[in-house]
């Protein structure tokens, strides 16, 4: 059972109005409306699920389950609020199970990589190694910090949306994100340093 999310009224533009209409139609059993409603967020759900699991099949299953939970939870969604935050909150909760299963499975076996294959074998190896290290670091975080990290970095939510999704204040959401990033930095120092160096180099190149 998914608890009710006290989402703030964030979506006030035409996109939010369109979503509200789709929600109302989907509640009445309009399959096309529900499909249109969730289509923009399938990639987001898959990204979060794939972050938690190395198996493409498990990630797809998780997205299907997330869709079912979203559909069942439409009755408690408040039209006019951020539907993206609503979906992302369900996806990160579903990812919790995947993280647990992945930790258990990684001790036993190596599995097939998730998603589409990168261009070259070298890129494939690098991406796979990075994804595995991030996955391991996320799995080691406390549950709430892991949730806010996923909501911030994978779902791209703002602090107000994160606060609504995890049921806390915006200030607490900021603190949670700060602590989550600090813990991730401690575990992924070399990766973060490499990305920073690249960013500085590209900035210099753009400046000259």
């Amino acid at each position: 059972m998914v608890r009710s999310l006290p989402l703030e009224r964030l979506a006030t533009d035409s996109e939010g109005t369109r979503e509200s209409e789709l929600v109302l139609r989907a509640r009445k059993g309009d399959g096309q409306a529900f499909s249109e409603l969730v289509a923009p967020y399938v990639g987001l759900m898959y990204r979060i699920a794939a972050r938690a699991s190395r198996s493409a099949a498990l990630a797809e299953d998780a997205v299907q389950e997330t869709l079912e939970i979203v559909h069942r939870g439409l009755g408690r969604y408040e039209p006019g609020t951020s539907f993206k935050a609503f979906v992302a909150a369900i996806a990160v909760r579903r990812a919790r199970t995947l993280f647990r299963a992945e930790v258990r499975r990684s001790r036993r076996e190596l599995s097939a990589p998730v998603g589409e294959a990168p261009v070259t074998p070298a890129e494939w190896l690098a991406a796979e190694e990075t994804a595995n290290r991030i996955r391991t670091a996320l799995a080691a975080l406390p549950e709430k910090r892991r949730q806010v990290a996923l909501l911030r970095l994978d779902a791209g939510l703002g602090y107000a949306e994160i606060a609504a999704a995890v049921g806390t204040t915006e200030g607490s959401a900021r603190v949670l994100v700060h602590h989550a990033l600090k813990e991730l930095s401690d575990q992924l120092k070399d990766l973060v340093a490499g990305v920073r160096d690249e960013a500085k180099t590209s900035a210099k190149g753009a400046g000259t």
Binding site: A26, R27, K28, G29, D30, G31, Q32, A33, F34, S35, L37, V38, A39, V42, G43, Y46, R47, A50, R51, A56, A59, E60, V63, Q64, L67, E68, H71, R72, L74, G75, R76, V114, G115, E116, A127, T130, A131, I134, R152, L153, D154, G156, L157, G158, Y159, A160, V177, L181, L184, S185, L188, L191, V192, V195, R196, E198, A199
Partner: protein, 166 residues
């Protein structure tokens, strides 16, 4: 998103790292998930009130049964259920001991006997005789002569008849 712009350098680095290592669903996967969503959407969504109203009713019923002292205990022969809802004696201080039973306990009154053994007038509450002008059969002042006449009738045996006959 407004607060996405004021990211720290560390957060920007992490965003880049997460974006690079993110996985997107293939077109086939998207198609399958889209079909799944369309199939899901055809089911009707249960309104929220249909979820919490039965849950609230169940919780209220449970609370009624569990909380002691809120309702009279149900007395049964084997009071396994009532003993749970009745507070134990040890937990109730300053409770006077029960009075000794009387030496001659009054007999339990049978409700049927109490009804049948009452005043005869109670058995015939709708005797309209006095109202209709005839005396009540249960009172001495009524139709004494009539009842005497009935009582004075004596039976004559066949032998007496034979003696009287010449």
């Amino acid at each position: 998103m407004s607060d996405r712009d004021d990211r720290s350098e560390r957060e920007r680095a992490f965003s880049l790292l997460f974006d690079r290592s993110a996985n997107a669903p293939s077109e086939e996967t998207r198609e399958r998930l889209g079909k799944h969503a369309a199939a899901l959407g055809k089911r009707s969504v249960t309104p929220l009130r249909y979820t919490w109203v039965p849950a609230l009713a169940a919780a209220a019923a449970l609370a009624y049964l569990v909380i002691p002292g809120r309702h009279p205990a149900v007395r049964t022969a084997d009071s396994a259920v009532t003993s749970a809802s009745r507070p134990p004696i040890a937990e109730v201080p300053n409770v006077a001991p029960p009075e000794a039973p009387p030496s001659e306990a009054p007999e339990a009154e049978d409700p049927v006997a109490s009804v049948l053994g009452g005043d005869p007038a109670d058995l015939e509450p709708f005797d309209l005789g006095p109202l209709m002008g005839s005396p009540s059969p249960h009172r001495d002042d009524g139709n004494v002569a009539g009842r005497r006449g009935i009582n004075d009738v004596t039976t004559v045996t066949n032998r007496q008849v034979e003696r009287k006959t010449p």
